[in-house]
Amino acid sequence: MRFSDAHGTPVMSRNDAEQLGKVRRLLVDVGHRRVTAVHIDGRRKRALLVEWRALSGFGPDAVVVGDGGALRGPADERELAMVAGDLDWLGRRVLTDRGESAGAVDDVEFDEDSGALTSIVTTRATYGADRLVALGPYCVIVRG
């Protein structure tokens, strides 16, 4: 699944079948190249997140939060920057580790079962997630 497809997907609670919100963005651990949490609603310190491992499913029509999946706020500076939109993927400049421009992020593909990132699609090329080096305020860096 692609980030652009995931954005806006309703997030439901399995417990009471209620909608908790919609996927605003996915939070990524770059080092482990996986989605760690889903930002559902709220801004900055009041942002509401749900852990990836608390999901019972990430489908095309809904993201379902399993029993006992509690919403939480941003845990650290990095997550605060992410929920503030300072580290959003789509449209972000991409550089190679050789200092060459590689366009901008068009989309990010991930495995909806595991949360593992599979590829970074830029306006110029597609990079396997294993080539992801860093995500920061200036750019995304991939191994060139």
Binding site: L95, T96, D97, R98, G99, E100, S101, V133, A134, L135, G136, P137, Y138, C139, V140, I141
Partner: protein, 186 residues
């Protein structure tokens, strides 16, 4: 991969950390050592249109990669005091405007820019000069002498003047071969 670029094109290029993907500075000036014809580091400005110079510099030994679009460093700690190779050497601003003089005593023009060849090192392989008929590229040997007044080049340099960066790499090679070849008996 070898890359030819003009030093002036590097000015304003961001210095980006590989660990946090941040633009922590930008290139103010390229610092080179003319006795070895190589880049030894960069002086820096803060990022942003109205930001001033940074006290910290970036020695070449702490550059992870230099590309067309950014100077990559492993982390912010790469910025700091000049290393030994960076002390008491010139910035490219100091050579721009200098007259290029052949050993035969012919002025070929004034220096507009330096041409760098980047691989593991960044070597100064030529100068862009203005001799009245528009910019031309002039190869240099692996060492050159320059003062505030003039840049001295071998007389043979004239034959290797080039119009653009495409093919300039092989012109430099041919020129250096010629310099290192023993003088032919006449």
């Amino acid at each position: 991969m070898t890359l030819l670029l003009r030093a002036r094109d590097l000015i304003g290029r961001p210095v980006v950390t590989l660990d946090t993907a941040e633009d922590v500075a930008e290139v103010k000036d390229v610092v080179f050592l003319h006795t070895e014809a190589k880049v030894v580091g960069f002086t820096l400005n803060k990022r942003g249109r109205f930001a001033g110079p940074l006290k910290a510099v970036l020695p070449w030994s702490r550059v992870a990669a230099l590309g067309r679009d950014a100077v990559m460093i492993t982390g912010r700690e790469a910025l700091g005091a000049p290393d030994e190779g960076m002390r008491d050497v010139a910035g490219d601003a100091d050579v721009v405007g200098t007259t290029v003089m052949t050993e035969g005593g012919r002025a070929l023009g004034t220096v507009r820019d330096l041409v760098l060849e980047v691989n593991e090192d960044a070597d100064v392989v030529g100068f862009e000069i203005d001799g009245g008929q528009g910019p031309r590229l002039l190869p240099v040997g692996d060492t050159f002498s320059v003062s505030g007044e003039a840049l001295m080049v071998p007389a043979a340099t004239e034959e290797f003047l080039h119009d653009d960066l495409a093919g300039f790499g092989s012109a430099v090679e041919a020129f250096r071969d010629r310099l290192h070849r023993p003088r032919e008996e006449t």
